[in-house]
Symmetry: C2
Subunit: 205 residues, 2 copies
């Protein structure tokens, strides 16, 4: 089946969103935790978290247009500068999904969606107690994408919390960690490791 | 286990890369196809493809620093403006992984890694014949991340190729499509759909 740019533009909006939101393949499932300058905690699911570099350890995520629609996560990061990113596991995908509803800013999604608000090592932003992998980040910069009003927010990892049994000699096993993936906006997947290959090198002849 | 920013910085480089490249969770597995101004095709695996918006249909991916190290994908997109993004399936994960080796610019990874170079509907860049989901993009802009020299390249979908059996009323089923995910640089995962939830709304009381 072939769709041109014009075919895509002429799709009904919800259909277009379903297709284009799924088209990049599997996406990571993370919860971003923040606190407002009024002290209200916020938790929101994001599927656009992306690794930007390891030294320094920089992580990005895509924020939808925030000029006309208030985005609590964006506002809190701008005012408080610190936030957390927390993996989602199968035991709480429904709670995590529920954070995408539009709660008013005086409501904490930790309470509304029954997830544990956890503070660690004097870090200003709340972690998700149920997550096995979580990181505390300091906001660094915003890259605006003028084509559609979205932004890439970039932060640096200040704290990293991992299960005790992580083997630093190997890449993290996301199957063993029970991390999940997202497709589109609403579909959740579990992961089964297929294979691991050595670094690819050009064969010497 | 708790690692601070300083702990992360003092890790041995390869260990740090393994951890930080895995820490965002599962990543999509895609091959990016281009052609040089000399007519040599290029194919490279990327795990940083990210959805930026559906109207227009904008897709981004992260390019590692290209000022000191030649990046064939980057150079080809800058000169030719068109490229393809193709899903990876379990039957060719080893071929796809092999594209990450540093082939010289006169070698086509399609040939070297035994993947089918396919041209569709007069589009200038090559698709991967083995992929079930593929898109042809026009380059739009680059956002530089001065913190580490990486860039986010943004393109707009011009053509989309999907299996005939896609149901437009639902989000794409990545398990049925047999798309794979990546963790770190070297680990490949298959996907099993856990659940799909309705759009989350705040309960009316």
């Amino acid at each position: 089946m072939h769709l041109t740019k014009e075919d895509i533009q002429s799709l009904e909006q919800l259909t277009r969103v379903k297709i284009i939101n799924s088209i990049t393949g599997i996406k990571p499932a993370n919860l971003i935790g923040t606190r407002s300058n009024q002290g209200v905690s916020n938790l929101a699911i994001f599927s656009s978290v992306v690794h930007l570099g390891s030294n320094p350890a920089l992580i990005g995520f895509v924020m939808r247009p925030h000029r006309d629609t208030p985005r609590h996560t964006f506002n809190n990061i701008m005012s408080e500068k610190y936030y957390t990113i927390n993996h989602i596991h199968p035991t709480f995908i429904e709670n995590a999904h529920a954070t995408s509803a539009r709660y008013s800013e005086d409501i904490s999604e930790f309470d509304a969606c029954k997830l544990t608000e956890e503070y660690l090592d004097d870090f200003a932003a709340p972690y998700v107690g149920e997550s096995q992998i979580k990181m505390g980040l300091e906001y660094k910069m915003t890259l605006d994408i003028p084509l559609n009003g979205t932004s890439l927010l970039v932060g640096e990892i200040q704290h990293l919390y991992l299960p005790e049994n992580v083997n630093f000699e190997q890449e993290m096993n996301l199957e063993a960690m029970d991390s999940v993936g997202i497709s589109g906006l609403n579909s959740y997947y579990k992961l089964t490791k297929l294979d691991e290959f050595p670094y690819a090198r050009v064969a010497k002849t």
